[in-house]
C-alpha cells in the first residue's frame, strides 16, 4: 500500500509522541519535529507507510540518542497481557468454537498500538471483537487453508498483543509447524524476540526476526526470512503495518487486524475500528 498525504501529519505526530516519551526537553522535541518535517518534505509517497516510518523513527532515535523509546511501554503491556492470559484461555475454553474465538482474541489484541492515533481500552475491545462480525470475513477460507498447511508463518505486530497471538497459536500448532516472526530491532512498540519469549511464544513456535521497520518489508529482511515467507503454506499477517507493507505481495496471506487509521479503512473499503480477517 502506497502512502497517502494523510500519512504525513500522522507520522509527524508519531515522531513527536516518541520524542516526548524519551525527553522533556522542548529543544530536543522541536529538533526532532522539524528534522522529521524536512525529511517528509522529500519523501516519495510511493513508499509504503512502514518504509517512511523507519526513517522518521530513525530520526527520533538519532536525535534523542534513544534506540528504543517504547521499551518501558512494551514491558508494561507484556505484563498486562500476561495477566490477562488465564482469562483469555477461559474465554476460549468456554466458547462453542475454540478456533474462531482464539482468532477473534488475536485480532482484539491488535488494539495495543502506539503508532495509531488512538486511546484504547483492551477489555472493551475484547468484548467488542468477540460479539461483532468481521467487516471482511474470510474465516472459512482461513480454516480450510489451515487444514491443508504444513508450515505457517505468523507475522507479529505489537508487544503485549503477543499474548493474544499465543492463544491463537495454541489452537493451531497441532495442525502445522508454526514460525513466529518478530522485529530484529526496536520500532515503535512492535514485538521483538525478548517480548515473544516473555509472553511464552517459545513454547509453541519457533521465533525468527524480520527487519528494522514496522510491518514486513521483504527487501529489508534477511534472505533466510524471505525463503521462509516464500515457502510458507499459510501466512498470518497481524496488524496495520504488515497490511501496509504486504497488501501487494503474493502468498497465501491472511491479514488479521483492527482498523485504527482512516487511510487503511479507506483502502479496505470499511470503517474505523472494524475487525478484519482478509485473505490476500
Amino acid at each position: 500500500m502506497k502512502s497517502k498525504l494523510e500519512c504525513i501529519p500522522c507520522l509527524l505526530r508519531q515522531s513527536l509522541n516518541a520524542a516526548k516519551i524519551v525527553t522533556d526537553d522542548p529543544v530536543v522535541q522541536e529538533n526532532v519535529l522539524k528534522s522529521v518535517m524536512r525529511e517528509l518534505l522529500e519523501m516519495p509517497l510511493s513508499y509504503t507507510p512502514p518504509l517512511i516510518a523507519r526513517t522518521t523513527y530513525g530520526i527520533v532515535s538519532e536525535i534523542t540518542g534513544c534506540e528504543d523509546p517504547y521499551r518501558e511501554i512494551k514491558a508494561t503491556y507484556n505484563e498486562v497481557a500476561m495477566g490477562m492470559y488465564p482469562r483469555l484461555k477461559e474465554i476460549v475454553d468456554e466458547s462453542d468454537d475454540r478456533l474462531l474465538t482464539a482468532t477473534k482474541l488475536a485480532i482484539a489484541g491488535n488494539i495495543i498500538d502506539f503508532g495509531a492515533d488512538i486511546r484504547f481500552n483492551i477489555e472493551e475491545t475484547i468484548n467488542d471483537t468477540l460479539t461483532r462480525e468481521f467487516a471482511i470475513n474470510d474465516y472459512s477460507e482461513f480454516v480450510k487453508s489451515l487444514v491443508g498447511s504444513e508450515t505457517i508463518l505468523y507475522l507479529s505486530d505489537n508487544a503485549g498483543e503477543v499474548v493474544f497471538d499465543r492463544v491463537l497459536l495454541e489452537e493451531i500448532r497441532n495442525c502445522a509447524d508454526v514460525v513466529y516472526a518478530v522485529k530484529k530491532k526496536p520500532i515503535i512498540n512492535d514485538a521483538m524476540t525478548d517480548d515473544a519469549i516473555f509472553c511464552g511464544i517459545d513454547s509453541v513456535a519457533e521465533i525468527v526476526t524480520t527487519a528494522d521497520t514496522p510491518g514486513t518489508i521483504l527487501e529489508r529482511c534477511d534472505p533466510e526470512f524471505v525463503d521462509l515467507f516464500r515457502s510458507a503454506d499459510l501466512i498470518v499477517s497481524k496488524g496495520q503495518g504488515n497490511y501496509e507493507s504486504l497488501s501487494e505481495e503474493s502468498g497465501n496471506i491472511f491479514f488479521m487486524l483492527l482498523v485504527k487509521c482512516p487511510v487503511i479503512a479507506d483502502d479496505l473499503g470499511i470503517k474505523m475500528w472494524d475487525a478484519v480477517l482478509k485473505r490476500k
Copy 2:
C-alpha cells in the same frame, strides 16, 4: 496561549482537510500540504495557534483558489442547528433554571468544530453537557457579573453553533445591550455576518465583525472593535480559538467552550471533552 509542538502536525492535518474539501486533485493537495510544512518550519511557537492558523489556511486558499472551503459545511450546519432551535427552546422552557440551561446549550453547540480533530454528534453532546458538571465552573460569578453589566460583548465561534448562542442571548438580552461578534472573512467554519443573520441573531443583538483569524486577535481587529472589547462590562468568549487568542488578555472575560484538543486540555488542567465556563 502560545502554540505547542503538537499544534504543528494538527495544523498540517487541518490544512490537508481543508484542501481536500476544495479539490480532489492530489497534486494540488500535496502542494498545499508541502507549502504549509515549509511555512510551519519557520513559524515561531510564541505565536498563538489562531495566528499560525491564519497563515496556514491562507496558504490553502491561495493554492486552491478557494477563499471559503467550508462555505457549504457552514450552510449545512446553520440549517441543522436552525432545525434544532424549537427543541432547544423547549429544553430551556422545561428546565428549572433557564439561564443555566441556556448557558449549557451554548457550550454544547461548541461541538460543531471543523478545525479540531474530532468526529461529533450534536444530540449526544447536548445530553452530555446538560447532565454533566462544568470541569471549570465560574457560573455563579457569571450570573453576578451579568446582573451588573450594561454592555455585553459575545464573541462567537462556529457557524451552526450560532443558533445555540442565540438561545443564550435570548435569556440575557433583557439584562444588557448585547453585541455579537463574528469573523470579517472566512476562516475554517467560523461564523460570519451572513451566518449570524441566517440564525436570527439580528433580532437579539447588534452584529459586528472582528478579523480574518480564528479566535480574536485584537491586533488584527479594527480599532472600533478594540474599543468595544475594552469598554464591554462583560465578554463571553466562545470556543477554543477565542481561548487561545485571549487567555492572556485583560477584561471581564468568561470563556465558554468544549475542550476538543489535548493542548488546550493541558493548558486548562482538565480533560478532553470537558465543558468549561471559566472567568479570566
